[in-house]
């Protein structure tokens, strides 16, 4: 007997299911009309996490340009033959992750004039344990990201746009240019810089900036009134530093809480361009990379299960290097950048499977893709010259079916499995043959001798 409350709950859920248009997998809800795109991609979702380098996340990944063999970072680059630190798995040596300094001066110290040998010393000069710069994660810690790299596109020449911290890099992410206030929030706000969202708005192309735990009252004007740890919203959502995106309701309505992303995806109403800023699970050291992966997995899974999947792309990247070691010297393109490499993964039904893309990219490569795909004017020199992230896509292949990438890293062993099943056939087949052979033998003997007559019924 099913309790009435249980039935009521089921009925309510059924009603709810009907209200939202039934299976979210069906293409029930009509997506907003978009102008035609130059590629099959009609929805781009971009997530910017925090503070890791390529070598820090993928340095020991089997493919791509990872940690060089034999590298050892000197404690003092000016002393030849002095002590050095080799890359080590984070957690070894009793060293746990912490927030490493990632200011412009530390960047320059670690770059050390292009010699790439100041990673330990620059942190030591900040009174931090410089050895930590050489720590790295691997597939045990990042099973989901490594699995994504196996299945989709991993960029191993994706540089942060600026050799500085979060604020500048986030501005490159949306505007292709630095904020004039430098690498910090300005009490006067940021003016006179067009963003990609201005372009999209002008062209009538849908866009949203989804913010996890969004606090609409928290902008560059009010940041002092909130606890310091909430200031990240203003840094990670650059639009909250630009007065027109705060004051103009037509623009401000596009900045919404992240829960709308899940709802929009489920209903088939994702905008053409969606930027996402995290809150807690940003992977900013020392926060957990496990929760960061779970957060990103939820976002990607929601897109994969949505009606948009066949026409979408999802880019995951990191805003700056966070003080960690990376062995590739960044190309110098202007006074600000590039910065060190950051991890970047592109997930799409058109992504090349297990492809390592070594074309030089930075955050403005995302802008370049948007501009190319939706036929928009460039914003600045950087994005005009940038290569598009479309290098990771192959539109000649049919779209791949929706698949949730596993959060567990394991390799099947088909040969071993085949051997076991062959064993089953041999042994069980032998048992049947043995019995059948005995039956045939008994039958022949019986024919030869004839059935023994029963003397009397016993």
């Amino acid at each position: 007997m099913i309790p009435p409350r249980l039935l009521a709950a089921i009925a309510a859920a059924l009603g709810f299911g009907a209200a939202v248009g039934g299976p979210f997998h069906a293409h029930a809800a009509a997506a907003p009309n978009h102008p035609r795109t130059t590629t099959p991609i009609e929805h781009l979702v971009v997530v910017m996490q925090e503070n890791h380098t390529y070598d820090n996340y993928f340095g020991t990944y089997p493919r791509g340009d990872g940690l060089p063999r034999g590298v050892c970072m000197p404690l003092d680059p000016d002393r030849k033959g002095g002590r050095c630190v080799r890359p080590f798995h984070i957690g070894d040596n009793g060293i746990v992750p912490r927030d490493l300094d990632h200011s412009r001066s530390t960047y320059l110290g670690q770059l050390n004039g292009g010699r790439m040998d100041g990673f330990v010393r620059a942190l030591e000069r900040r009174n931090q344990d410089g050895r930590l710069a050489m720590a790295h994660y691997d597939g045990r810690d990042l099973p989901y990201y490594w699995n994504l790299a196996d299945e989709y596109v991993l960029f191993d020449r994706f540089f942060s746009s600026s050799g500085a911290g979060s604020f500048l890099n986030h501005f490159y992410w949306v505007a292709g240019a630095p904020a004039r206030s430098g690498d910090r929030i300005s009490p006067a706000g940021v003016r006179g810089i067009p963003t990609i969202f201005d372009r999209l708005e002008e062209a009538g192309i849908s866009w949203k900036f989804y913010v996890q735990n969004y606090e609409p009252r928290l902008t560059y004007r009010t940041v002092d009134r909130f606890p310091p740890n909430r200031a990240s919203q203003v840094i990670w959502v650059p639009l909250l530093n630009i007065p027109r995106f705060i004051d103009d309701p037509r623009l401000n309505r596009h900045i919404v809480d992240l829960h709308e992303y899940y709802r929009d995806a489920a209903r088939g109403r994702l905008p053409a361009v969606a930027f996402i800023a995290p809150s807690g699970p940003s992977e900013h050291p020392p926060s957990s990379v496990v929760s960061g992966q779970a957060f990103v997995r939820t976002l990607i899974n929601q897109l994969v299960a949505s009606p948009h999947w066949r026409r979408s792309a999802f880019l995951l990247t990191y805003d700056d290097w966070g003080g960690w070691y990376d062995h590739v010297r960044p190309p110098r393109v202007d006074a600000h950048g590039y910065g060190f490499r950051v991890p970047a993964l592109l997930v799409s039904p058109y992504a090349r499977r297990g492809h390592v893309d070594s074309v030089v990219h930075d955050f403005t490569s995302i802008l370049r893709f948007i501009e190319d795909n939706w036929r928009l004017k460039p914003l600045a020199q950087r994005d005009r010259r940038a290569s598009s992230i479309a290098t990771g896509l192959d539109f000649g292949q049919p779209p791949r079916p929706p698949t949730f990438t596993s959060a567990v890293r394991s390799a099947p062993a088909p040969d071993e499995l085949r051997a076991r099943t062959a064993l089953v056939y041999v042994l069980y087949g032998g048992a049947i043959l043995l019995t059948a052979g005995l039956a045939v033998s008994a039958s022949r003997r019986g024919k030869g001798r004839g059935s023994a007559p029963l003397g009397r019924r016993t």
């Binding site: 076991r420 099943t421 064993l423 016993t458």
Partner: protein, 523 residues
């Protein structure tokens, strides 16, 4: 008295013989046997694929698919799980050419049909053709045997091999040729390789030879037969050890020995009595008393075949609907013996004196009808929201599973109320499914099932993206059903697929009741 003379003395044969030439009476019995086979075929294939697999069927078919190397199912159904693999191995050969639910059930039905033929063979040698024809009709129509042998379960094949063992033991007892006993040993081994619980039949055989010293069975012959049986059975541990799963069988045995009772003392009297047919059981029992003057080792053999497993499972705390199926053929033969041999001196029917020769055919027709009607009813597709394990397919399970396969992204993971629905979802949906009721304590759970240690966390971290509620499990375990719906509410559950069934309310209104609901959940 030889078998031929014994047959000629049978009341039914005498009754028919008075009316017809004896040769024609014998032909009639053979026609009845052919009819029994025909009825057996019809009842075992009618609507065979109307409902999808239940949990156990899904597991065995999944194992067969894994043995055959079907890549979509291999990740969800390990080859080495709980039981031996004889039936699954035979089934896997079919998978190599045709992936279909129907194929597995046809194979199971073929074993059922083989059992009907064996029942005829045994009864013919023990009691003659008329009794054999009746016995084969009884087993062909018996709801218990029909229902179980229509499913991809191990009990149909194990019953076939146990009946094959009975056949060769009966022949050995008649012919005294040791080679027949050795074949019986091999058949017994195959029965155990189908399902290990049939090892209890060995106890029945032991009891029979102990209670029938007049047969003069030689210890040497018995030991050789035992050796053959052990050689065949050794396939199971050897395969486990060579595949690196030496602890698998032991873990399952330990679980079965120490698990909590799943049914009460009246389970078998209530369910199996009705499934075998109360009149059949009454006829079998009555014959033992009424025909006690003719008792011989034959009845001892059949009784031992029934009593040992029945007594064991009645006392054993873990009970399953289909566990007593190997005893059904012996019950059918005993009942047929009564119907064929018993002739009352006189009987009073409808207030007048009725010739006794009519009573036996009336009893036969009555017993057969008492089997045929419930059997016909039970092989129709059901639309109930409750379910007894082993009693048939699960409405809606296949449909939801196939929907999942085509609409839910590959790699998705699901949480169901219990492992039964989880097995069905994995088989048809090709997606990993966990049962919420599967505990993490290894002493308290079936080692074949993987628990989800922290379902709440798994949903929060998006390792589990779907929750599946089903009416069958909810009726059995309201606690876990309620817990599951808590997760639905807590994690933004949205119903994305509902399988429902039409049913009537107390007022007679037609409503659709949900059978299975799939929810998408997210942190």
């Amino acid at each position: 008295m030889g078998t031929g003379e014994y047959v000629a003395e049978l009341p039914v044969a005498r009754a028919i013989g008075r009316l017809l030439p004896v040769s024609f009476a014998r032909a009639l019995a053979w026609i009845a046997y052919a009819g029994a086979l025909g009825v057996a075929v019809v009842l075992r294939v009618w609507n065979l694929d109307a409902l999808g697999y239940n949990s156990d069927e899904a597991v065995y078919a999944g194992q067969a698919a894994s043995i055959a190397g079907i890549p979509e199912l291999t990740p969800f159904f390990p080859v080495f799980r709980a039981h031996p693999l004889l039936f699954q191995t035979l089934h896997s050969l079919g998978y190599l050419v045709w992936q279909s639910d129907l194929l597995g059930r046809l194979l199971a039905s073929a074993f059922g049909l083989g059992t009907v033929a064996l029942v005829f063979g045994i009864a013919r040698r023990l009691y003659g053709v008329p009794t054999a024809a009746l016995a084969s009709l009884v087993i062909a129509l018996m709801p218990y045997h029909v229902v179980v042998s229509r499913q991809v379960l191990l009990d149909g094949p194990t019953t076939f091999f146990a009946t094959l063992t009975l056949y060769f033991v009966a022949r050995y007892s008649l012919e005294r040729r040791p080679a027949l006993l050795y074949v019986a040993g091999g058949a017994m081994g195959l029965s155990v390789l189908s399902k290990e619980t049939s090892i209890l039949i060995v106890g029945g055989a032991y009891a029979f030879f102990t209670l029938s010293p007049e047969l003069g069975a030689r210890l040497r012959h018995l030991l050789v037969a035992l050796g053959v049986m052990l050689a065949v059975i050794s396939t199971y541990p050897i395969a486990l050890r060579m595949a690196g799963h030496a602890s698998t069988g032991g873990n399952y045995l330990a679980y079965q020995l120490f698990r909590r009772p799943n049914h009460g003392w009246l389970f078998y009297p209530e369910t199996v009595t009705m499934a075998m047919g109360p009149l059949v059981l009454a006829a079998a029992g009555a014959g033992l008393w009424l025909l006690r003057g003719r008792s011989s080792w034959r009845e001892t053999l059949l009784l031992c075949w029934i009593a040992v497993p029945a007594a064991f499972f009645q006392l054993y705390p873990v009970k399953g609907f289909q566990y007593l199926l190997p005893a059904a053929p012996a019950v059918a033969i005993l009942a047929a013996r009564t119907l064929a041999c018993w002739r009352p001196a006189r009987a009073r029917v409808l207030g007048g004196r009725v010739p006794s020769r009519w009573l036996a055919p009336v009893a036969v027709v009555g017993v057969l009808l008492s089997l045929a009607l419930p059997t016909w009813e039970r092989i129709q597709p059901r639309s109930s929201t409750t379910f007894l394990a082993g009693a048939g397919g699960v409405p809606g399970g296949r449909e939801v599973g196939r929907w999942i396969r085509t609409h839910v992204p590959q790699g998705a993971q699901m949480l169901a109320i219990g492992p039964s629905m989880a097995n069905i979802l994995q088989f048809y949906g090709h997606r990993r499914a966990y049962g919420l009721s599967v505990g993490t304590n290894p002493l308290r759970r079936n080692p074949a099932y993987d628990p989800l240690p922290n379902p709440d966390r798994a949903i929060r971290t998006n390792e589990v993206q779907y929750i599946v509620w089903d009416a069958f499990s909810a009726a059995r375990t309201p606690f876990f059903a309620g817990k599951l719906l808590q997760y639905v509410r807590r994690y933004n559950g949205r119903a994305v697929r509902t399988e429902s069934v039409a049913s009537s309310t107390r007022t007679g209104a037609q409503v659709r009741r949900p059978l299975i609901i799939v929810y998408a959940v997210r942190p």
